[in-house]
Subunit: 196 residues, 2 copies
């Protein structure tokens, strides 16, 4: 018996689903909403169109699930980077900013922009974005050891995440990693003063 | 003789050009790159397609010129808000953030995202973005009375503008004006401490 034979049907279904989600994010990041269809993603993932539609009946289902899945993966990876909780704050700030400079952010951005004028997409993306945003905020507060009962701390962390998103936007067309590092270093220092 | 008769041909040309540029930004903000063609903009502006193409031979010409024109208009308006130079820094921060929450930012964002996978658009948008970014940075430094010869000050101002961009992105799908005001108030205070 081969490994494939031993894999239960459910596990195979899960693996297919995961391949589709990962291909969907890569496709969205590379080709935008207009160039991202279920057919294209199924092809990338090496899955039949029928199987793809079994897992995700609509295009909106596939792409919102994909952004959510990858966001969760990245959140878990971020927490795993700092298993002891509050660590070097500068390292935490850099890792938070990194969340917004990869393919996931590009994919999410494509989805946000498409949602602006697609009625079917908009409520789902708005809700997804709020959920992912809350989770990222929670992680940031934990890893930075920020005490949100103190006035201004909540807004300081929110502003930091807004800055991270803005830095992500700036890297969309040009690689400005050197500038980004300098900005992150400086604001990590300001943040340190604000949180202590 | 009516006013129109007295207007020299050149002035009429300039007025037509301006109407096209304003209509182009509005169209891009509302309908995205895919929904924005020279024909649609000409119609909005009440200008013939031929006249539009006389002013802007290609679609790329029209939309990059439009974003640049409106960005310049907004920069001038921002400077005019604070004619005495350095004013209340919190008011300056709020006005800088406002740059990124209107139709201009939506239009620019549509253009950035489209430029990611349109070879003809990409170098022009990259160059435009760098030019507009430099000018906004210069205005921010002037209005905040920031002394860039001091270490960290340049990066502090850059991070602030990144935050403003991130806040603009957050308003794309939901009106989060109340949250934004609180973040701006808090970051203006951090900035005040960093610049003094």
């Amino acid at each position: 018996m081969t490994t494939a034979d031993r894999t239960p049907k459910q596990d195979r279904g899960r693996a297919t689903r995961q391949r589709l989600l990962e291909a969907a994010v890569a496709c969205l990041a590379a080709h935008g909403w207009a160039g991202s269809t279920v057919t294209v993603v199924a092809e990338h993932a090496g899955v039949s169109r029928g199987a793809a539609q079994h897992h995700f009946p609509t295009r909106e289902d596939l792409f919102t699930a994909a952004v959510e899945y990858v966001a969760e993966e990245r959140s878990m990876a971020l927490r795993a980077l700092f298993p002891q909780g509050t660590a070097d704050r500068r390292a935490v700030v850099a890792a938070l900013v990194d969340l917004y400079t990869g393919p996931l952010f590009r994919a999410a951005l494509q989805l946000w922009v498409a949602a602006c004028d697609e009625e079917q997409l908009r409520p789902r993306v708005t809700e997804l974005e709020a959920r992912v945003g809350r989770e990222t905020h929670r992680i940031a507060v934990d890893l930075l050891g920020a005490d949100e009962s103190r006035p201004g701390v909540r807004e300081t962390v929110q502003g930091l995440l807004d800055m991270a998103r803005g830095l992500g936007l700036a890297t969309l067309l040009t690689d400005d990693a050197a500038r980004r590092r300098r900005v992150v270093a400086q604001w990590a220092e300001l943040l340190e003063q604000a949180l202590d």
